[in-house]
Amino acid sequence: MSDAAIWKDRLQSEMPPDLAEEIDLFEAQLELRRQEKIDERIFAETRLRRGMYGQRYDNGQRHDGVDSRDLDYPEAPTKGPDTLWHAPGMVRIKIPYGGVTPEQLEVLAECAEDHSDGILHITTRQDVQLHYLHLDDGPTLMRRLAAVGITTREACGNGVRNITGCPIAGVCRTEAFDVTPYADALFRFLLGHPDCQDFGRKFKPAFSGCAHEACGLVMMHDLGYIARVKDIDGKQIRGFDVYVGGGLGTNPYQAELLLEFAPESEILPLAQAVGRVFARLGEKKNRNRARIKFLIAKLGVEEFRRLVLEEREILPHDSRWTDYLDDLDSATEQAKVEPSSLNGAARPEGFDEWHATNIYKQRQEGYVVATIALPLGDITSEQTRLLADIARKYVGESVRTTVEQNIILRWVSEKDLPALYSELKAIGLAEPGAGTIVDITACPGTDTCKLGIASSRGLAAELTTRLAAKQYELDESVRGLKIKVSGCFNSCGQHHVADIGFFGNTRTIDGFTVPHFQVVLGGRWQENAGSYGMPVGAVPSKRIPEVVDAIADRFIAERESGESFQDFTARLGKKELGALISDFKGVPAHSEDMSAYVDWGDSREFTRKDMGIGECAGEVVTRVDLELSRAESIAFEAQVALDEGDLGKADAKAFEAMLSAAQSLVRTQMPDPPEDAEAIVTEFRERFYDTKLFFDRFAKGKFARPLFERHESGASFRHERDIVELIENTSLFIDAAYQCDIRMAGAQSAAV
């Protein structure tokens, strides 16, 4: 038995059945792609929808500083266009609203050690990423995670990404109410939801407990909910202001109000209706215009609202919309330790500095939230394991990741703080400065991202080192500023909402390419990412630390009483700010000093030749293609069962594969196709067989008959030869379904 098979066997009973089935299907698709039986584009999108991303150099080319070299991997099929099978990749692991338990932390740590490089990276959307992972390890990793309730499903690709939420929800002093159970319900509802499988691009939802703080960053999300309580007839009723169409990237958009105060019972169906409208009308071909923000800009928010409400009216009822509301209280966390005050407890060295920046007083008297500031969002497996122990000891289950790439412990009883600090310090996790200018956010950039232009992590590490060395001498007004760095215009480092933001680009100086960062000033983190910063010009990477100093000095010198950094930059204006940074645009000639031609954290001369084609946008693959590919995987499972002598399972899987293929065709005419076999067969017969749409030019309806026959005969005892024939016919049925879809698409484009 292979290791993967042993893991599967061992974990089977611990995984939620739906996740287990999904992973089986992915494993079958992997095998089909290894045999080159599915198209590389379809496999790429399938892989992305399981969270398995490509990484830099996975096209087999790398510039080593002297020349561009071929990376001579063993021969194998590709895992996507221009993406080599054996090249290491990244896996993104969804952590809804950042909530993670000590047990889950332990498994994440083990997976990072056994399958990756022993580092867990917290992303700006509260996910965990592991890098340098081999695709073959994917199914085992997914099973290990699924066994503790974690999924990678739809963490990448054109689907619903992780649902983010205030990490301090439930303990926050200013929230309307705890958004955790709502975020959790939406996560479960949308995961794999049929109405969210046909998007042209990714779709990111977020929850916030109030409008004025930053935590949920609703205004930069595709779909966002801000909690509100309304007095209706003397009753305190919960609801949400619903926003749509926010997003960063090259064209940053602020979200627009879709509905003011939607009752709590409406938030799931509204998301479903938004998903349907986006799937139906969103751009599919031009991926640069395919996010929902472009659709809303095109239609106008009023028309978009009308379409969503119209769609909402016709949605078939789903009990999951409100089932969870009966159980809201179960999400309330229980403190592990009695509340207490710090009083005059002895304070270890360094405690006061840490306490000043890393502690947030909870709404609940006697409790605080402690922030563990992670350098560049990184934590080792060993630290993670020990952190799980510390969490168990002090807070039980209450751990969350944050969009600032940190981890927080909630419900710390105040008197425990000195001991907690000492234990965190012993494992290198007690750095002060959380949420201040030294706590810099950075996307992966050129370290691992195929689209990275400049080294965001290299720059962030350099700025952190320099600023940390003088953090206590910095003026108070500057200490509170936020710096965020993206490796390119795609904005994964969220530079638009930083006080001082940077994104990577390049300039050519005397015929040499010099890494640069565009400087973006005055973004508003508060008010849920309330406004975006102003680009003021590009500066060579190596001169960015001087730029930070110059901006800080000017702010200290010219700040008016009580003036925010946003107001300050708005007052100075683009021209003045451009002039401020213009002193730093020059670099020595290449022949005199090479350092500006080498990026931070690297020693190779800079080049853009290493950039690849990003997978962020997913593949442009139709939904029918994906569903038919899924049907093929089920047919593959039937074959495996047959090989193992399990005739009953082989028969059932073959039938399921045909039903799945038939259902995918039915869906092209019927947005809500039935789920039960009888109805699927009936709809398929009426819509595709009786109409002859499914008919092959020569074979006519021959390939559909095995579906009807198997449906009519049921799972009565069959001989092995019957099952062999059924599986062969299943393959032919799926092939015929592909052909039918191609014919229909051709007919449609001919009709346009």
Binding site: D3, I6, W7, R56, Y57, R62, D64, G65, V66, L71, D72, Y73, H86, P88, E106, E110, E113, D114, D117, G118, I119, H131, Y132, H134, P375, L376, D378, I379, T380, E382, Q383, R385, I427, G428, L429, D447, T448, R457, G458, A461, T464, G601, D602, S603, R604
Partner: protein, 188 residues
């Protein structure tokens, strides 16, 4: 026992030699890639020097990673096999230990370090990052001890090794090896 994810760590004799940022090793590892002299397929350099007691600076490869490792506050050179390896377990262990010794030797002779770095010859650490086949238990230790001892003799002739299992069962299988009979890596 079918083990692949085996790693070996040799410790730097004077930890203060790494007192400066581990970033010094970034250009060294890039040069190693450019030189094309390493076995296997080296891919890239990853800098985790900012993480306390972390993997330091890594030279990521297809079959194996090499690193200037900072784990447990004890800097050292690690060779960590990732993909399938050929041969018996003893041969695989010997290949990994041999690569670790080879990497450490390279660092000792690295011109940019000007002789500042030398490695201890009286201890090394063997780990297996594979919780399925090699949980950190007495049974794994019993099953692997002989092969580890033999592999050390294969790579460092004349060396006598004493093994001790490290850590609890949540950590990867790790063995601390005390070695006698080896004067210096260059002569090994």
């Amino acid at each position: 026992m079918d083990l692949h994810r085996i790693s070996a760590k040799l410790f730097i004799a004077d930890a203060s030699a790494i007192s400066r940022a581990a970033g010094e090793y970034i250009p060294i590892f890039h040069r190693w890639i450019q030189g094309g002299e390493l076995s296997g397929l080296p891919l890239d350099v990853a800098d985790y020097g900012h993480v306390i007691d972390g993997p330091g600076v890594m030279l990521i490869g297809h079959e194996a990673d090499r690193s200037l490792d900072l784990a447990d506050g004890r800097p050292g050179f690690v060779y960590a096999r990732k993909r399938e390896a050929a041969g018996s377990v003893r041969e695989r262990l010997a290949q990994v230990i041999g690569e670790a010794v080879e990497g450490a030797r390279r660092l000792e002779n690295e011109p940019a370090l000007e002789g500042a770095v030398s490695f201890r010859t009286d201890e090394l650490q063997i780990s297996v990052k594979d919780r399925l086949n090699a949980p950190n238990t007495q049974a794994t230790f019993d099953a692997l001890s002989q092969d580890i001892g033999a592999a050390i003799s294969d790579v460092l002739p004349g060396a006598a090794a004493t093994l001790a299992q490290l850590g609890d069962d949540r950590r990867p299988f790790t063995v601390q090896v005390t070695v006698s009979g080896v004067a210096q890596l260059a002569a090994a």
